[in-house]
Symmetry: C2
């Protein structure tokens, strides 16, 4: 049976992934060689972004300087991108997933499966207080969804620098199929039967990165930074296990767990803005506008979402690090409380 991949999304990470997937489909007989990529149409110097991508083979706006394989075909129409696909790769900001799924419902082949590359959770009024992106995809489209997450800063992946990533699966065959389209010698994929664990790691680590940036700003040194990372990993695991029973400890030893947390706390925009919050005294809102060039600060909003869940359930004391980070971001608590309140 031939599989056909569609990429839903074409931002910085989506484009980096397009380079890998477009190359990998040539390595296997069972993949259609065309990879359609849905692009939210924009005008760049009077030209359509899709047209530029399909002629220059470069996403000049979101991943400039990196050639995309010619078999990656940009398409401005979501339905046309996906209607003949058997493998959907979701790589869009998480607030767009619901609308995309509504449009795709009933328009995709019945043997379709999906993978989410989206790091985030969706706050909901359900029993848990949130919904996973993979669950949204599964429920609205009636298909199974895997999750890919790891220490994967997009530009470094696009440049072919060595790194690892993790795919969580429910159905091993799906996990292996998605590994085929992502794995390269410089983008090493491990698969593990734990979709939710992989997904929660990707969502929660941005909160801890705020903590890492705060202790950097406070110049507290390497021991303190390592302690924040360790406590963060502990709280991420504790949270995952409290809400889902099949979470594996092993997941936190994978790239999606410890490695992504380490990268995010070493570089990344959340860390950087939190450090600036300490050194300049400016608010996170103001710094987001000044420093991020239109990108959103995920760590603070995820901290707020998590705090909403934890406080509703009376769990704040059991998650002192995440709670304190929320309070520093939103309640004017002084940054140094990060080591006093945990």
């Amino acid at each position: 049976m031939t599989e056909k991949v569609a990429l839903i999304g074409s931002g910085n990470w989506g484009s980096a992934v397009a380079k890998i997937v477009g190359g990998n489909v040539h390595n296997f007989e069972h993949f259609d060689k065309e990879v359609k990529m849905w692009v939210y149409e924009e005008q760049i110097d009077g030209k359509n972004l899709t047209e530029i991508i399909n002629t220059k083979h470069e996403n000049v706006k979101y991943l400039p300087g990196i050639k995309l394989p010619e078999n990656v075909v940009a398409c401005p129409d979501l339905i046309k991108t996906c209607e003949d696909a058997t493998m959907l790769v979701f790589v869009v900001p998480h607030q767009f997933v619901s609308g995309i799924c509504k449009q795709l419902k009933g328009k995709i082949p019945s043997n379709c499966k999906a993978i989410s590359l989206i790091k985030g959770i969706d706050v909901q009024d359900n029993a848990e207080g949130f919904r996973l992106i993979t669950d949204m995809i599964q429920e609205s489209l009636g298909i199974q969804a895997c999750m890919l997450s790891g220490a994967n800063i997009a530009d470094e992946v696009a440049e072919g620098r060595f790194c690892e990533t993790t795919i969580g699966y429910r159905n091993k065959k799906d996990g292996e199929l998605f590994r085929d389209i992502f794995h390269t010698p410089f983008f090493r994929v491990s698969i593990i039967e734990d979709v939710v664990g992989v997904e929660l790691c990707g969502a929660l680590k941005n909160i801890i990165a705020i903590g890492g940036g705060l202790v950097d700003g406070l110049k507290m040194g390497a021991n303190t930074k390592a302690a924040i990372i360790r406590i963060g990993l502990y709280e991420m695991r504790k949270f995952a296990k409290m809400f889902y029973k099949d979470i594996k400890d092993e997941t936190f030893f994978e790239s999606c767990g410890v490695a992504d947390l380490v990268t995010t706390c070493a570089g990344g925009r959340n860390r950087k803005v939190a450090e600036a919050h300490v050194t300049t005294g400016k608010s996170f809102d103001q710094l987001e506008q000044e420093m991020l060039n239109g990108q959103k600060l995920q760590g603070t909003s995820t901290a707020k979402d998590m705090y909403g869940i934890l406080s509703k359930k009376g769990l704040c004391e059991e998650f002192p690090l995440m709670t304190t980070i929320y309070r520093i971001c939103y309640e004017d608590v002084p940054p140094k409380r990060i080591v006093e309140d945990i």
Copy 2:
């Protein structure tokens, strides 16, 4: 029953620990208030180091600028330091342990227990190919030994910056007693029933730090660095579990595991020298002399010890990261092989 603590060692880490222990014994009724500290006598500007410590209450040579509590009493005589102690804290370079134990044999109270703060292993011609420091202490003195290890750069601990550490114990009561003398709000102690796991983390992480320094020198970016840390943690755990059956996964989530590894790969002399090896092309031996001011580079020698064990047992392929690091250090293999051979 009153416990009495003796510190065996007074270097940088020993002195930082003396500050904590000297303070903590005042918080509990069951500790004798005097803490003797064995100092290998040296002359500093014509004065005995012990005399300087006992008058200025500062180890001017190994931890300058930090006041030690007045109840910490420096003593140049090992036997006199320990003969009335019930809790021995070993904090000396690992090559001195055997000689110290020989001198102490039969001279310490029968209810004595020990803790090792020494990060290293001792290569031996036994079945495993090495001996743990805690085993050396236990066997030669006939007493039980705990192990303390964590993300604990000595100067930062001495300055009272927040961090964590881990005590591995065999006997919970001993673990709790040692926690009493070490735990403070800024030096948080967790205890876990896994002496060997804690000890192996402390010994092996220096090898991985060489790997971290190599990828820093190669300017491979944050993803790659995080991958090296993750694979390093994986190989440390795999090695520990291969040689000892009661190792706990949980230990690697503690400060002695992931946190110490992160700190050591972020700062520390092993990382620094390995980075310089790449950027200058000089040998590790030469850089050790030029950069370390007489200190030893533990990562390379531990890599050599480990490689000896792995190669004798035909396990090199199962530990590709540690093996490649050894080869880069000792066999002129180019540093970029660190991501090609793993």
